[in-house]
């Protein structure tokens, strides 16, 4: 039995970019900022492609929700080895209110429509750090979930997944179909090379609208304020050990 795999990939601000908060505190500056695929989703795509290379999976489908720019992310996924892609087109206006719950509903619907056996997503996106999509997708589908995966093996009709938990690893067996979220140590994603990006342009991208999938995008959460983290305070130099001890005592540290 070979599996059909659905991978979610989100377009986020590149990990190397210095994030700036908008002056009105409604969000962060995204215009003219370099974007790329969420690194945890890259790991998810890589795992799906490796499953295909090991003949565990038969087809890898990449999904992204967002405005037309999300197609760049899908191209990257296709260049990494996904077979086809689905772009769920969301208005830029609606996209700013889009939350993990909406993405989960979309993924769940697509997983049913495409007769998917395994859904793999990154454990969290590096922009909102929500860590909710995998869990909620599993709930909507009523499928077992294996979150924070650091190793995935096929074991008959089951998957044996090693999970990263506090202070160690946990190995669980999940029945298929299942939802998996990838952790950082699952694999090392390959670099999408130039020739592969060119070849990926020939692979198909399906376009869908949230309305077609029966998903209502009205927000469930209101963002009240987005603020910069506190700035680190400057340190002070001390002349000798005695002064250091005196200062520490003054602060009540010793």
């Amino acid at each position: 039995m070979s599996l059909r795999v659905l991978v979610g990939c989100k377009r986020v601000i590149d990990y190397a970019v210095k994030i700036r908060v908008k002056p009105d505190k409604t969000g962060v500056v995204t215009d003219g900022v370099k974007h790329s695929m969420n690194p945890f989703d890259e790991i998810a795509v890589e795992e799906a492609v490796r499953m295909k290379e090991r003949k565990i999976a038969s087809e890898v489908i990449a999904v992204s929700c967002g405005p037309s720019t999300s197609q760049e992310t899908l191209r990257t996924a296709l260049a990494m080895g996904a077979d086809k892609a689905i772009h769920v087109e969301v208005d830029p206006k609606d996209y700013s209110n889009m939350q993990p719950i909406h993405v989960s509903k979309i993924l769940a619907k697509l997983a049913k429509d495409e007769k998917i056996d395994v859904v793999i997503v990154g454990k969290q996106a590096i922009d909102d750090d929500a860590n909710q999509t995998a869990q909620m997708t599993a709930a909507f589908l009523d499928w077992p979930q294996a979150t924070f995966a650091s190793k995935i093996e096929k074991d008959g009709d089951h998957l044996k997944v090693t999970r990263e938990v506090d202070g160690g690893l946990e190995t669980i067996k999940v029945k298929l179909p299942a939802v998996i979220s990838s952790d950082l140590r699952l694999n090392e994603p390959r670099y999408a090379t130039l020739p592969n990006i060119m070849k990926a342009k020939k692979k198909p991208i399906d376009k869908k609208k949230p309305v077609d999938l029966g998903v209502d995008l009205s927000p469930k959460i209101e963002v009240i304020s987005v603020e910069d983290p506190p700035v680190r305070e400057a340190g002070a130099k001390v002349k000798d050990v005695d002064e250091l001890l005196a200062k520490l005592k003054e602060l009540g540290r010793i």
Binding site: Y15, A16, P39, I126, L184, E188, P189, L194
Partner: protein
């Protein structure tokens, strides 16, 4: 593939990788171009082959560098 197109090919690969260079694309392009220009008078086939091989090696190294940089940044942000 002729040697000439092999060289052009690897040069393009390098430029593509240069887009993600930490100090910016221009920094990378200038230095990459200089490195190629320095050897433009070489005619010996064997020597050119060795140079192409070296360039391919650099491509692999840069890919590895980017991967490592990303991994380390994420590890630092989420796991420490």
């Amino acid at each position: 593939m002729s040697q000439r197109s092999q060289v052009i090919n690897v040069y393009k690969k390098l430029l593509y990788l240069g887009k993600d260079w930490p100090q910016g694309y221009h920094y990378f392009r200038d230095r990459c171009k200089r490195a190629f220009n320095k050897n433009k008078h070489v005619v010996d086939e064997k020597q050119i082959n060795a140079m192409i091989e070296r360039a391919e090696f650099v491509v692999k190294e840069i890919e590895a560098l980017y991967k490592l940089k990303k991994y380390r940044t994420l590890k630092k942000r989420y796991y420490e």
